[in-house]
């Protein structure tokens, strides 16, 4: 049976001090080839100093249909933000 090259997600650190960021995806037979292809496809113009490749099937993603229960509870928790607290104007630097 014919097997297609799996899909890989590519993350690139554009310079030291910054986090790796998702750049896109590509197909490759294995991690080594994914790394070589990622270099050619996503860093032809000095876009990065470090690459992560992760086979796409290993990523567990949240479902947008669950966004309500996932993310909405945070909306009514205003007390997690500094502006929720009333302080007199005389208090500086807080």
């Amino acid at each position: 049976m014919k097997k297609n090259w799996p899909l890989w997600e590519i993350f690139v650190r554009s310079k030291n001090g910054l986090e790796h960021r998702h750049f896109g995806s590509l197909h490759a037979a294995d991690a080594e080839m994914a790394m070589e292809n990622a270099r050619d496809v996503y860093t032809r113009r000095n876009e990065g100093v470090s690459i992560w490749v992760v086979e796409s099937k290993n990523i567990t993603a949240s479902n947008p249909a669950d966004n309500g229960e996932m993310f909405e509870p945070a909306q009514d928790k205003v007390y997690r933000h500094p502006t929720f607290y009333d302080l007199p104007d005389e208090v500086k630097h807080m």
Partner: protein
């Protein structure tokens, strides 16, 4: 899902786009949105990949190392652009193999401009200047399109594309400042590429069947005729600078509109090429299909090698 529920979801969806929210692959979307995006994004990816062929023709014959390095880099970018777009397209649930199959069977289209031959070195100049110029005009608005993966791919494509046009114009400029023969070669290339470049921006608004829906989904921000006018208005002064004549006797600056009026486009030719009867349709497709078929054993061998290594690792660990 009931019809009413779908209708409700569609309304929420359209409202999100109207608010300039982006749609991501796992979000609910109308089937027509998915299909339209697969069609347009794959067509775009195919154009990048087939677009490598007319230029690949000149890599080994570039007149200097500088030109050769630039052309090689440009063709490599096109491969990259095809890959960004294919993988963005695959997020809509179609496989790479299916996409290739659609190209190879003729079910999917690619830009008709790549069915014209590149017969002299000046064509490398004209293609970069005109074809990439027209492509940029088409592509820049897509950086803001509603489908997230497409918009992100386009941001990267547009960043890289500007060098393509500049290197093309530089080739033209060098030829135009060269000998009589070189200048004639540049003029000849302009003569052959001008009209196909105008056609590349798509059928007239009256003939364009997808425009209205595409505008709503921000797959299009300006109509084909508007883009064409923009292309002509920006290109004519560049031709003047080169000292070349645009092959259109009806081309004239219109003081009232501030734009150039231009002659009739031969749409019969356009549709002939789209339908597969251009000068190089068969050659382009056979090059693609052969590359795919002849590469099959390499792809299979790489997969077999990867599996063997993975099994070895498992055996070692146990």
């Amino acid at each position: 899902m009931s019809e009413k529920e779908v209708k409700n979801l569609e309304e929420i969806f359209e409202a999100r786009i109207a608010r300039d929210e982006k749609i991501e692959p796992k979000d609910w979307m109308p089937e027509k949105y998915r299909q339209t995006h697969i069609r347009q994004m794959s067509q775009h990816a195919h154009s990048e990949i087939v677009g490598m062929l007319p230029e690949g023709n000149w890599i080994t014959r570039a007149p200097s190392l500088r030109r050769k390095a630039a052309l090689l880099a440009k063709v490599q970018d096109e491969a990259g652009h095809g890959l960004y777009l294919y993988s963005a397209c695959e997020t809509l649930g179609i496989s790479r193999d299916e996409l290739y199959e659609q190209l190879h069977s003729g079910k999917a289209k690619y830009s008709s401009i790549f069915n014209y031959p590149t017969v002299t070195w000046a064509d490398m100049g004209a293609v970069g200047w005109l074809v990439d110029g027209a492509a940029i005009i088409n592509q820049v608005p897509l950086c803001n399109t509603s489908f997230g993966p497409y918009a992100r791919a386009m941001v990267r494509v547009c960043k890289e594309e500007s060098f393509h046009q500049r290197q093309g114009f530089e080739i033209m400029l060098t030829l135009c400042r060269g000998s009589e023969e070189q200048k004639a070669m540049a003029q000849d290339a302009l003569n052959r590429w001008w009209w196909p470049s105008l056609m590349m921006l798509g059928p007239t608004d009256a003939e364009s069947i997808h425009t209205e829906q595409s505008m709503k989904w921000k797959l299009k921000r300006k109509s084909n005729d508007e883009l064409r006018q923009q292309f002509i208005d920006q290109t004519v002064p560049q031709a003047d600078l080169l000292g070349l004549t645009i092959p259109d006797p009806d081309l004239k600056f219109n003081k009232e509109t501030g734009s150039y009026d231009f002659g009739e486009i031969n749409w019969d030719e356009f549709w002939q090429v789209v339908k597969g009867h251009g000068p190089c349709n068969k050659e382009r497709m056979s090059a693609r299909v052969n590359a795919w078929n002849n590469g099959e054993w390499v792809r299979d061998a790489a997969m077999a090698h990867a599996e063997k290594n993975a099994n070895k690792k498992i055996a070692k660990a146990s």
